[in-house]
């Protein structure tokens, strides 16, 4: 039985029960206007609903009864016992039909003409008991019950006829009611007021909190006797909580149920081929929220079909498949429900929206010129805004998107849109869960405790300086970052964000969060345990603090604020625009050099042209040096730095030191106790990027250029600039003559890394030969070349580093040479594999210090041996 019919039946049963008692009351007090109105309304409702559902028999009976009641209500017909009896028998007929509906899902066959005739006659003022007698016969036909056997129609008629004459003390015998009561199975659903559920939910929340408190007490007090019953209580509480939550949750698919039909009809109407894809239909959300977003969703799908998707011819011309797609996607994310409505149509016409906004006086030309495309697109949410050139029957009347937005905002949601001309439009609706019990980490920052919803936490990383091997929080121009398995994680300090006093201790935790497509870390001082929390909304006077999604009471009875990862991401400014992300997908260009792993790059500005980049691994420190500290030694600008003189090399021509206290950003490169500063204009950013280097811009000082964050960026050749600092840079004191310098062989297929590693090793006093593969290295060996150590990449085409190591160790001149692996993959398993193959050491790519240290260790060990 379909849902609609089931709803109707439940509703009609309620209505009929109410009607029975109302009619009896009416009989006793025929002039009671409110009762009369109530009866009329109830019958009217039944009539209206069954008309809507196409239940013609039911509708006809209810309609006839309504007519009579209408005249009673208007006072044009006096209420008579006979009339009431007639109405009651009409209700019996309704019950009978409803019972049939319930049993079979369709109206039972039957003839109601006599009953309707009697009712119509009554409505015309003919109080005809004879007519009233008639209905019993057809009523008996439709009934399966044995109470009304066919030979006894007069018997059935008699009570009615008698009733018409004497004021009946009791309603006429009611076999139909019995029949329906017998036939109807116990209803599978009951209707419960939302308030009742709401109250239940509140009580359960309190129960959960009390349970937590008890558990905490038991943990602290160690009262063993309570342990088992408490455990049981805890389980039951959890089950109860889940059950009550379930009563309020419905899959979003319920709100989508009508969309396939809608889309089908639209596609016929509009002459377009449309495919509707629905993902995450099982995503559950609060019933009330579901009701509220049903209409906005329908509207948006309609919009996508009408405005978004092009007619087949246009799609063909644009090289797209004829069938347009509308995609609905729902999922939970960070305590919110996200619903995406996307199409692969023509996208929003930015130009037209701009023009329309101007024409409607929503913005001036100057304002528009300053707006980003995204901001311009948001005009479609302005009231009365439509760019459809033709008003169709479907949409384009300029009502809609503003209503959609208002409705969504009413339930505390947001709506975003992304559009690309020719590619399609995607609306993203985000609705917060206002009522939920969630698992949360209890954390501390700045001396205060907070609850961090576990849903957004990807992992917890312990950080600190005192622990060997623990990752450390590093800073790039005040921005804290964490190196986490080959990626640079932007961090935000919770204490800083909340303007609390940060803990002075160096160690702590980083909670790695995923919000939307963005990953970032939150610096915490301490992490306690996890606890089930009941999200309670904060007081209205605190609603503007977007960092919190609510508050709750912990097991120990204290109040705690619940952090909102989305609010934190927003406040910290981490990754709002997905646009940049798209541009970053390094497409390997033919002929370009690429390193397979991503590299941390420091982006800065210096001189003309766009941003410039240098691998972060090469930079020792970033400094802001006051202009007044920069002195001249001959023609070279220098600065006193850590007890020595550091030469400064400007990257831009015609640089003059800033005046007075104005600060000069400098990238510091160090080697032993030597330092050299590269003068730049501004430090921009640090990015993890898979480098695709285009060689040969021919400019001295640059290795080449690469697309970084969607922009062409020149990559600095550090060796060139280091040489500018003075010749002695390349000739460290301990390497008196070139002959004394240890010779190294670098086997590396990536030209980019060769460019990086060779200058750094040269600068460190080694003489480096670089080859682009294992084959070339083995040729060198066979030619009799000798090296103190060999550094090799692992991932290389043809012969990889592991095979290369095995080949060396298998015998020949280099069987004993120290062999250092340099690889982007430095997981313990990789290291073990490398060692098995014969590598002496294993260094992460590209950790300059570690490589130099490893070289020193290998060479000393060799000399000692």
């Amino acid at each position: 039985m379909d849902d609609l019919l089931a709803d109707f039946l439940t509703e009609t049963h309620e209505g009929l029960t109410a009607l029975d008692s109302a009619l009896v009351r009416l009989e006793r007090a025929p002039d009671d206007q409110p009762t009369l109105s109530e009866v009329f309304r109830l019958v009217h409702t039944i009539k209206g609903t069954c008309g809507f559902l196409g239940l013609s028999r039911l509708e006809a009976v209810a309609h006839a009864a309504e007519n009579v009641l209408g005249r009673y209500r208007d006072g044009t017909l006096p209420v008579t016992p006979a009339g009431i009896t007639l109405i009651l028998s009409a209700l019996d007929r309704v019950k009978e039909i409803v019972a049939g509906l319930e049993a079979t899902g369709a109206e039972p066959a039957g003839d109601d003409t006599a009953l309707i005739g009697a009712l119509d006659a009554a409505a015309d003022g003919q109080d005809a008991p004879a007519a009233a007698a008639a209905p019993a016969a057809p009523a008996a036909q439709g009934r399966a019950g044995p109470e009304a056997p066919a030979p006894e129609p007069p018997a059935a008629a008699r009570p009615s006829a008698e009733a018409a004459q004497h004021a009946p003390a009791a309603p006429p015998p009611d076999p139909a009611a019995e029949a329906s009561a017998g036939a109807a199975n116990a209803p599978q659903t009951i209707r419960v007021a939302v308030d009742v559920l709401e109250d239940l939910m509140t009580l359960v929340s309190e129960l959960v909190l009390t349970r937590n408190q008890l558990l905490q007490l038991a943990r602290a007090g160690g009262a063993d006797a309570f342990a088992v019953p408490l455990q049981r209580l805890s389980h039951i509480t959890s089950d109860l909580q889940e059950g009550v939550m379930k009563t309020r949750m419905q899959p979003i698919g319920n709100a989508w149920a009508k969309l396939p039909r809608l889309v089908r009809d639209l596609s016929h109407e509009l002459g377009k081929k449309i495919e509707l894809e629905m993902r995450g239909a099982q995503t559950e959300l609060d019933r009330q929220v579901l009701e509220l977003i049903r209409d906005p969703l329908t509207h948006m799908v309609r919009n996508s079909a009408d405005h978004g998707l092009e007619p087949p011819a246009e799609r063909r011309a644009a090289g797209k498949p004829e069938t347009g797609r509308i995609i609905l996607n729902a999922y939970h994310e960070g305590g919110h429900i996200i619903i995406e409505i996307g199409d692969d149509g023509r996208g929003l016409p930015v130009g037209r929206i701009r023009a329309k906004a101007l024409a409607n006086g929503l913005a001036t030309e100057a304002e528009l010129a300053q707006m980003s495309e995204r901001e311009v697109l948001r005009f479609i949410f302005a009231p009365g805004f439509s760019t459809a050139q033709q008003v169709t029957a479907v949409s384009g009347r300029g009502v809609g998107m503003d209503v959609v937005k208002t409705n969504i905002e009413k339930i505390g949601g947001t709506v975003e849109l992304a559009s690309k001309e020719g590619r399609g439009t995607t609306f993203t609706i985000k609705i917060p869960l206002t009522l939920a019990i969630a698992a949360a980490l209890i954390v501390e920052a700045g001396g205060e405790r907070f609850a961090l919803p576990q849903i957004g936490v990807v992992e917890l990383v312990r950080v600190g300086s005192n622990q060997e091997g623990a990752p450390r929080i590093e800073r790039i121009k005040d921005a804290p970052v964490l190196r986490l398995r080959d990626r640079l994680l932007p961090l935000v300090s919770l204490a800083g964000l909340l303007r609390l006093e940060p803990a002075s201790r160096e160690e702590g935790f980083v909670a790695v969060m995923q919000v939307g497509g963005q990953v970032f870390g939150i610096i915490l001082d301490r992490v306690f345990d996890t606890e089930e929390i009941v999200v309670k909304p904060v007081a209205p006077i605190l609603r503007h603090v977007t960092m919190f999604s609510g508050n709750t009471i912990l097991g120990d009875g204290s109040v705690i604020m619940i952090l909102d990862p989305n609010g934190i991401a927003r406040a910290a400014g981490v990754g709002l625009d997905q646009g940049a992300e798209e541009g970053r997908g390094g497409v390997p260009a033919a002929g370009g050099m690429s390193s397979s792993a991503s590299t941390s790059l420091l982006l800065f500005r210096a001189g003309e042209g766009g941003a410039k980049a240098v691998p972060l691994g090469l930079v020792a420190r970033l400094e802001d040096i006051p202009g007044e500290r920069i002195e001249m030694a001959g023609t070279t600008p220098v600065v006193q730095y850590r007890g020595g003189l550091m030469p400064l090399v400007p990257l831009m021509p015609g640089w003059v030191p800033p005046e007075g206290a104005a600060r000069q950003p400098v990238l510091v490169f160090t080697e032993n106790d030597r330092a050299m500063g590269l003068v730049v204009e501004e430090i921009l950013d640090v990015l993890d990027e898979r480098l695709v280097l285009q060689e040969g811009s021919g400019r001295p000082g640059y290795i080449g250029s690469a697309v970084i964050a969607g922009r062409v960026t020149e990559v600095v050749d550090t060796a060139y600039w280091l040489a500018q600092a003075g010749e002695d840079w390349f000739r460290p004191a301990r390497a008196a003559s070139p002959a004394m310098r240890p010779r190294l062989l670098l086997v590396e297929d990536s030209a980019f890394f060769r460019h990086l590693v060779v200058p750094a090793l040269s600068a460190a006093g080694y003489e480096v030969t670089a080859v682009d593969g294992a084959a070339a290295a083995l040729r060198l060996r066979d030619d009799g070349a000798a090296f103190e150590a060999v550094i090799s990449d692992i991932e290389m085409p043809e012969m990889d580093g592991i095979a290369f190591a095995q080949a060396l160790r298998a015998g020949g001149a280099w069987a004993e040479v120290p062999l250092i692996a340099l690889s982007a993959r430095a997981e313990p398993a990789d290291v073990a594999r490398g060692r098995d193959a014969g590598f002496t050491d294993y260094v992460a790519k590209y950790d300059r210090e570690a490589l130099l240290q490893s070289l020193r260790d290998c060479l000393t060990a060799r000399q000692a041996a």
Binding site: T210, K536, A539, I541, L542, M547, F548, I553, S558, M561
Partner: protein, 158 residues
């Protein structure tokens, strides 16, 4: 239900007095104030208060009142008075507005008393604008002046 509870209280304490003229007196930094007793849901002794970062300065934090979260406002800060030595000594007067509970942190809670209508006087024009904003008037008593606070105005922050 809440109103009935509150209404029962003054009737018991001060029988025969018109309800609307019954107030709870309290002090902040030596100043006597009064709030209509009908607005008061509870009076609490010193309570653990959780600070709320980024909240308006008048908000002292939140506290747990028998499983309900109550936002605490420091009445001293709200009235622009110097801060109290330590927060722990503060008493709380819990009031309700729009279904939410708020605790007003005060120094001392006095008594529930009827303020006769003839004792009321409008604000002196020289009164601090902030105070004028949050109070409905001044009540003259023999030995002191009591500022009658308008709870809705006191809570209208942020």
């Amino acid at each position: 239900m809440i109103a009935a509870e509150a209404a029962a209280r003054p009737a018991a304490l001060a029988p025969g007095v018109r309800e609307e003229a019954v107030f709870l007196t309290l002090t902040v930094a030596g100043q006597w104030c009064a709030v209509p007793v009908l607005a008061v849901r509870d009076v609490l002794g010193p309570h653990a208060i959780t600070r709320i970062p980024l909240a308006p300065p008048d908000v002292a934090g939140s506290l747990n009142l028998r499983g309900r979260i109550v936002t605490a406002l420091d009445l001293r800060r709200r009235l622009g008075l110097p801060p109290r030595e330590t927060q722990a000594q503060a008493m709380s007067v819990v009031v309700e507005q729009g279904g939410e509970l708020y605790a007003l942190l005060v120094d001392q809670v006095g008594e529930v008393m009827a303020l006769p209508a003839e004792g009321f006087a409008p604000h002196p024009p020289t009164l601090d604008a902030l105070w004028r904003d949050v109070s409905t008037g001044v009540h003259r008593q023999e030995d002191r002046l009591v500022i009658v606070l308008d709870v809705a105005r006191v809570l209208a922050i942020g």
